[in-house]
């Protein structure tokens, strides 16, 4: 059961993220919602690659024959974190520009483009 805890945690994170996206109207909170989903997915990837009692895959003092944690999901997670950083920075930059133009971050009040 305790071994499934990371998976439960990432499902909770993803659900929280979707809840934020659906029910929050502040642009910065929407960005946070995307960030929550992203953390959930990243945690899921890392948890997939864990081997009980494994050593890190880049440890040069690893004893011969010791089980190693899968390196691929860690590489995937890292890539995904980097991409997430770029998207978050871009979205926040747009939020700042929107605030400068409209003076508010409320998604209901800024809508010029509709229909």
């Amino acid at each position: 059961m305790i071994g499934n805890l990371p998976f439960v945690a990432c499902m909770v994170l993803i659900a929280l993220g979707f809840w934020t996206l659906l029910f929050k109207r502040n642009l910065v909170k929407l960005v946070i919602g995307v960030g929550l989903i992203e953390s959930g997915v990243n945690l899921f990837l890392v948890a997939l690659g864990y081997v009980r009692g494994g050593v890190p895959p880049i440890y040069t003092y690893a004893p011969a024959g010791a089980p190693m944690v899968l390196p691929t999901p860690q590489a995937l997670t890292l890539t995904s974190i980097v991409i997430g950083l770029a998207t978050t920075a871009l979205m926040l930059a747009f939020a700042v520009v929107i605030y400068r133009h409209k003076g508010t971050l409320d998604a209901r009040k800024i809508r010029e483009l509709r229909g």
Binding site: I58, T60, Y61, A62, A64, V82, L85, A89, L92, A93
Partner: protein, 149 residues
């Protein structure tokens, strides 16, 4: 910011940069690499921004964008180096030249002079991330109004 913060920022700035460089340099041996090291180095820039305000770094935007383009270009060019074999092939590994020593077998403290093009790519990515993140933080700071205490 106060004198205390500014003095400590002055002291820590080279240390943070050096630590970033260390993380980049050992990217092929220890956890870390170009992105992480670049992020650490960019945190040094962020510290300077917090301590001294964005006005001091305002004219560095051109430099940062040039450095970022240079890092990106270098990374792709390193990929092109492998074209004699395949794109991204590690032509320097095992060549006994730059970063070309064979990887030692068995438990060992790690040899910096291995892994071929990977350390060079780490440096390219490191500079790109340092410049890119630095530019992002700088732009956000400049957005935030002209508060320059």
């Amino acid at each position: 910011m106060t004198v205390v913060v500014r003095t400590i920022a002055r002291l820590l700035f080279p240390v943070a940069l050096a630590f970033g460089g260390y993380v980049i340099m050992h990217g092929h041996l220890t956890p870390g690499g170009g992105f992480q090291g670049g992020a650490v180095a960019a945190s040094a820039l962020a510290m300077v921004l917090v301590a001294f305000g964005p006005s001091r770094l305002k004219d560095k935007k051109g430099l940062l964008s040039a450095l970022e383009s240079l890092g990106g270009t270098a990374f792709v060019v390193l990929g092109f180096l492998g074209l004699g074999v395949t794109f991204f092939a590690n032509v320097l590994a095992g060549s006994h030249g730059l970063f070309g020593r064979p990887v030692p077998y068995g438990p060992n403290p790690g040899d910096l002079n291995t892994a071929g093009t990977l350390p060079l790519m780490n440096w390219a990515v490191g500079f790109k991330v340092l410049a890119g993140l630095g530019a992002v933080v700088l732009l956000f700071a400049l957005f935030g109004g002209e508060d320059d205490r």
